[in-house]
Subunit: 321 residues, 2 copies
């Protein structure tokens, strides 16, 4: 009954789920810049609060709790966007803690939905072509949240740490369980046991689940079985067959922070080649990939973003076919 | 793809369209009271403003203009309600002229949608089981608007008259054309050429289009052809075959303001009898019908409301069958 877009094409939908300060905005920014804002709609689904800050203060749960959010309306809006329909999205003002005037969101060719709970329900998950969960080690995420909330939202470190403690039971109950529903789990972290020079970017570990078709990178990557030699575990990038924490098989792509520009270029080129000629016209500027919030750059981030762009363009291509 | 209500039943949808101060709220109030607020959801669709008052002041059109409203979102929300889905409805604060926090609206068994433009587009009209247009004579509506806006919104009569002048071209272009899409056109007006005592309620003229099945009232009403005798035109209630202003055939039910309680009771009873036994359990208190905003009562209004209740219950019955 609801109409599709005039073009008859549905947008490609990408979810980026993760806890507060897990890096969602940093990951999203490069994707929007690279595909171009005229083709990309970025939506944050953390504004579906049922209560404003004053109302919430008397409730026994934090803003993370599904009962604290209009999850049914979030699902409905994700469905509408996935059908190419506009939505009037609620808006929460973080500075005042008030729910304010909603905003019109019209889906372009690609829709990136980032937030705390986009993969919480089956109905919401069904709206996405590609699902990502950001899974940094908790101590690292805590330090990111302290830095951001103190710099941009005027809190003290003690306030932020207290809030993290208060949220932990609901993070465990509602945020982290989304990890198992992601096609790709992204973990940025320092490599254990290495003493890289200051300024070395974090390494990326990407779990690539067989729920979507990933580009075949075995030719350009060290992809032997784990533990066949000391040299193998030392390579800056490698692909390993792996069992996830729940025992399910998964490919694990490691991109270490100390990867050389030449090495990372080989992988980037391989991903672009898998896309074929459409990559060249679709990506307005691959040079914007890998930019960190504090103006540094990271090859592990750039490769992560390029892999997501591969999936966005591949899904778009398959829909058009 | 969007889910229906748990019960599997869709709500019955009634539209009440009409210009500002045409009597929509007065008509709606009795319906909600009579069926019970627990079974009825009343929605005003005049809050889908694209611009707030400050933004609008620089635009070449008034708030009536479709371009000034999120008509596509209004259509979408009407479709969702008609499927039994909740919506997060925008809210416009008339006192401040600002768009504020949206509100959750969950459809109950019956949904009454009143406003300026609910019948503006084909897609919106398709959402309704019954459509009504309120069509008072313009001088009467102007006096109602002056009275209300001065008493409740703090304007002077001169300000209200100036606003009516400013809106007239858009009323003519967008509001009044909805009249032709209504199943029932309701006109409350004094009877021309009569000198009824002060306090006599306005008469009601109801055009009953053959687009829905009306209860057969020919047995209890004077329903002879027009002009067969002076006595006929003098009866307090009558049903006439009529040509509408566009030439289309229509039944015209007149209920004059001076109708006696005994006469109106006969018609009310006939409508209830057409509903059969379900009328008794469905109507919590038919005594609330006919109440005017200023605390008077009107039998023509009561009969109009009872006819709409007939259609609501009849549509509900047919959906359940």
């Amino acid at each position: 009954m609801l109409r599709a877009r005039g073009s008859g094409r549905r947008p490609v939908m990408l979810a980026i789920a993760g806890d507060s300060a897990a890096g969602k905005t940093t990951l999203t920014r490069g994707l929007v810049q690279c595909l171009g804002a005229d083709r990309m709609t970025a939506v944050c689904v953390d504004d579906y609060h049922r209560y404003d800050r004053a109302e919430r203060s008397g409730k026994p749960f934090t803003a993370l709790h599904p009962d604290c959010n209009h999850i049914d309306i979030m699902e409905q809006h994700l469905q509408l966007l996935s059908m190419g329909e506009p939505i009037l999205k609620p808006v929460y003002d973080h500075s005042t803690g008030e729910l304010v005037r909603p905003e019109l969101v019209e889906p372009r060719d690609f829709v990136i939905v980032e937030g705390l709970l986009p993969l919480h329900t089956r109905m919401a998950r069904a709206c996405f072509d590609i699902t990502v969960y950001l899974d940094p080690p908790e101590p690292l995420r805590h330090s990111w949240k302290v830095r951001r909330d103190c710099a941009k939202r005027g809190y003290t470190p003690e306030q932020v740490m207290a809030e993290l403690d208060r949220r932990e039971p609901e993070s465990a109950a509602y945020i982290r369980p989304q990890r198992k529903h992601a096609d790709i789990v992204v973990r940025f972290a320092p490599v254990a046991g290495r003493l890289d020079p200051p300024g070395t970017p974090l390494s990326a570990e990407l779990l690539l689940r067989p729920t979507i078709d990933h580009p075949d990178l075995a030719d350009v990557l060290d992809s032997g079985p784990a533990g066949t030699g000391a040299d193998r575990t030392e390579t800056a990038m490698h692909l390993r067959l792996h069992r996830d924490t729940d025992g399910r098989p998964v490919d694990a792509l490691h991109v270490h922070g100390y990867v050389s520009p030449e090495e990372s270029q080989v992988v980037k080129k391989a991903i672009l080649e898998h896309l074929g000629p459409r990559a060249g016209t679709a990506l307005s500027d691959p040079g914007v990939l890998g930019q960190l919030g504090d103006a540094g750059t990271s090859d592990p981030l750039a490769i992560t973003q390029l892999l997501l762009l591969y999936h966005l363009l591949d899904a778009d291509h398959r829909q058009a076919a």
